[in-house]
């Protein structure tokens, strides 16, 4: 059992490309940390640096009170589950799990006991003699987990382990990974680009973008108070609506306390269709409905802000949405018709405000 501490960790490739630009965070003993971010943000690189598969250009990585910068992967007391599982194709399931233990010179009965125990936990006891190619994707996934468990490491490292599974299995394995980690209470670092996976698994969520940490916190805190417009649009699906405002617009909405241009954010689920004006300080938008997506329990409405609404649009467009497009998420399957003009409202305490460059959250 151990904590993992990263201190100002950097990675620069020989070509000069800076993949990790100074990352600090700590994962407490037994905690489940999820690194989430878009492709190419450096999350996998960071995980591989913890594993010892990538060298560390600067900074320190500390596992259980020991700086491991120059320690071989095998000696870091970690176990890793790869995206493609990386099972040894020519070895049986049993040998796949036992291989690492044998290399450490563990006694045969002990290996046997550990493999059997892991097989029991993961319910793969019946396939110990099979080769990986005779297994389904989900079963391979379990074997990869088993290979990690038998080592009884201080830290589990997961590199997008579920992304090769179909959607249904992914959800099932997600729950299982979480249960397993709780039960073994082993520290875990998990890399994913799927924000749903990140939200459901994490004790600590680390949102990364372009080699930097955007925000660290518990999933619900990150959801409730995104630190930047990047986090706001990355966590939550569909993403938060972001509307650029000039200084005048900001003052008009949030009072005199803030005197700068900014970006107004409001989550799709915080908008409701209503012709009534909201409580004081709330937001009203006039939309022309352009598309409807019904997913069953809820419906997404895509609309374009029409001129003459509550807010005037201005130039810049942070976040992912086109500046004039607004998404609303409403329960049930009732929805306005396409082309209809609707009025949507949001309460004052559901509004977020960011600096104009999107890098800073402004308390309002």
């Amino acid at each position: 059992m151990a904590n993992v501490v990263l201190r100002n960790v950097r990675k620069t490739y020989p070509g000069g490309f800076e993949a990790i630009k100074g990352v600090d965070f700590e994962v407490g003993d037994g905690q489940f940390c999820v690194l989430v971010g878009p492709s190419g943000c450096g999350k996998s690189t960071l995980l591989r640096m913890v594993a010892g598969l990538e060298t560390i250009t600067a900074g320190e990585i500390d596992i259980g009170g020991r700086v491991v910068n120059d320690v071989e992967p095998a000696d870091r007391d970690i176990a890793m589950v790869f995206q493609n599982y990386a099972l040894y194709p020519h070895m049986s399931v049993y040998n796949n799990m036992a291989y690492g233990l044998r290399n450490r010179g563990m006694a045969k009965p002990e290996i046997e006991a550990r493999v059997q125990e892991a097989a029991r936990i993961l319910e793969i006891g019946a396939m110990l003699d099979r080769k990986p190619r005779q297994l389904s994707g989900g079963q391979r996934q379990r074997v990869a987990m088993g290979r990690a468990i038998v080592r009884q490491p201080k830290v589990f490292l997961f590199d997008e382990p579920l992304s090769n599974l179909d959607a249904k299995l992914r959800v099932a394995m997600r729950v299982e990974i979480r249960k397993l980690q709780r039960r073994l209470s082993t520290t875990a670092i998990y890399v994913t680009h799927d924000q749903l996976e990140a939200m459901t698994l994490a004790d600590i969520l680390v949102v990364m973008n372009a080699g930097q940490v955007e925000q660290i916190g518990s999933p619900l805190d990150v959801y409730a108070k995104p630190a930047t417009t990047f986090v706001a649009s990355f966590i939550g699906a569909p993403p938060m609506n972001l509307i650029p405002l000039d200084a005048e617009g900001v003052r008009a909405r949030f009072g005199g306390a803030v005197a700068e241009a900014g970006v107004l954010g409001v989550r799709p689920e915080d908008l409701a269709i209503s012709s009534e004006p909201p409580a004081p300080g709330g937001l009203t938008l006039d939309l022309a409905v352009e598309a409807i997506e019904r997913v069953g329990p809820e419906t997404f409405v895509y609309g374009t802000r029409s001129p003459g609404g509550d807010l005037a649009a201005i130039s810049s467009k942070p976040g992912e949405l086109p500046p004039d497009e607004i998404i609303i998420r409403i329960p049930g399957q009732e929805a306005p018709a396409i082309g209809q003009r609707i009025s949507v409202v949001a309460l004052r305490h559901n509004l977020h405000l960011f600096s104009a460059d999107g890098r800073r959250r402004i308390a309002v």
């Binding site: 992967p73 095998a74 176990a79 790869f82 493609n84 194709p89 690492g100």
Partner: protein
Amino acid sequence: MVEHRKFGNLLPHLVLWTGILIVAFPVYIAFVASTQDNATIANGQMSLLPGGHFLETYYKTLFVGTSGTTREPVGTMLFNSFVMAMMIAVGKIAISLISAYAIVYFRFPFRMTIFWLIFITLMLPVEVRIYPTYKIVADLHLLDSYAGLTLPLIASATATLLFRQFFMTVPDELLEASRIDGAGPFRFFWDTLLPLSRTNMAALFVILFILGWNQYLWPLLITTRDDMQTIQIGIRKMIVTSDALTEWPVVMATAILAMLPPVAVVVLMQKLFVRGLVETEK
């Protein structure tokens, strides 16, 4: 392309059977000749049916040899050829595996230079460098030895390239998983890479064994003693052009015997051979 015509299979079969006959007929004639007595063949009265001298001729060929030109029995030649072909095939595979491993998995100065040097040797087959190679082997006193027969033929750019290509298709994660599992470079090579290369090695073995078996020019230069000669040289020596009488049954029996080991290797390893050439699953 699947066609359902009544005689749709007739033409392909005709073509295939014609091909088989063209290839097989001379072999059959050789076999028939090896079972007849020499006088019949010399008279030009050979029938197309096997004669009655099968056991007699093959016993003489394998254990006694011809009465004149080659004093060694074909058994010795078969043994020499077999040792040479085995050493070449196994040696080539071993050395190529190791050099491909170094080139693919290790970062060292002038790695690409070395790779290209190996690549360039493809343009220098034995025939081109035969004089310097002979000189070196002679200076090392390796004439008339198995080492002299095989060592110069062992270094192989082709096999190195083949293994390099194969190693590059092995996912990096396997290496990384091995590192985390505490396997060093040697263990990774032995425990993971070699078993994965098994079918490739088998395919290569078949090709290289036949290549080694069919060597003619190099053994001709390097061996002078009768007890070191290979079967390919032996056959050639049996065919006498001067006034002595060529013992055709023995020559034909030797030719048949010379064909058997490569055929055996292909038949025995056919399954692995085909898998090695077509397999993509990792």
